[in-house]
């Protein structure tokens, strides 16, 4: 079940929970802070959420993905607050009997997460500026 955390994401327990006897595939996707964006050097990202709505939206996403891709297991964890370069802001773990749906589900969850979940990302640049990333109007 989805979680929000203000601490670094620990993937070990996520992978342990994803090991299922009935499955042949586990996929873990991590979205990490990249040190550049559109030619500017990025020092860190900072995330903010409507935590109640974000958690609810992530859990709906998990449920939809579980049905759509016949997942045996799915967990999304999103970190909030400052996320330094090379650290993960989001982890998506899925387990499936066969591998193709594991890739498809992970990708779909990430695409939908960026559209549907009230979380905001601010980039802090080496040149001193900071900007909220242009996002998607929530529907």
């Amino acid at each position: 079940m989805a979680e929000l955390t203000h601490a670094p994401i620990d993937v070990a327990p996520l992978l342990a929970a994803a090991a299922r006897p009935e499955c042949g595939a586990v996929n873990l996707f991590l979205g990490t802070t990249r040190d550049h964006h559109e030619g500017r050097s990025v020092l860190r990202l900072e995330y903010e959420a409507h935590e109640g709505m974000a958690l609810a939206a992530l859990r709906v996403l998990e449920d939809e993905a579980r049905t759509r891709f016949e997942l045996a297991h799915v967990v999304v964890v999103h970190r909030l607050g400052v996320v330094p370069v090379a650290e993960a802001s989001v982890a998506v773990v899925v387990s499936t009997p066969h591998r193709a749906p594991a890739f498809e589900a992970s990708r779909w969850i990430m695409d939908e997460l960026k559209r549907r979940v009230p979380i905001w990302k601010k980039e802090h640049f080496a040149d001193g500026g900071a900007e909220w990333v242009k996002g998607h109007v929530l529907e």
Partner: protein, 81 residues
């Protein structure tokens, strides 16, 4: 009636606070709350076409009615992940 407003990201920064409190006449709708907020915080106007809105954690429209004690959230375009 009294409405608690929660502001996020750009909306929060333009207002300078994560929270605001509005006093509105009975029968007011979400759009009325936004209009009042824009009078107090004109920097919000530019953001308004891009805002999603929620009443007590559920997405809402400008035409939705408000009730005393509602929490109204101003949600700029999202960029998680």
């Amino acid at each position: 009636m009294r409405i608690e407003v929660r502001l996020f990201a750009q909306a929060r920064e333009r207002v300078g606070s994560a929270n605001a409190r509005l006093e509105l006449p009975d029968g007011s709708r979400v759009a009325d709350a936004l209009t009042l907020l824009e009078q107090v915080y004109p920097a919000l106007a530019e953001l308004r076409p891009h805002l999603a809105l929620a009443i007590d954690g559920t997405l809402a429209r400008g035409s939705d009615a408000l009730a005393d004690g509602n929490e109204l959230s101003l949600l700029p375009p999202v960029s998680g992940g």
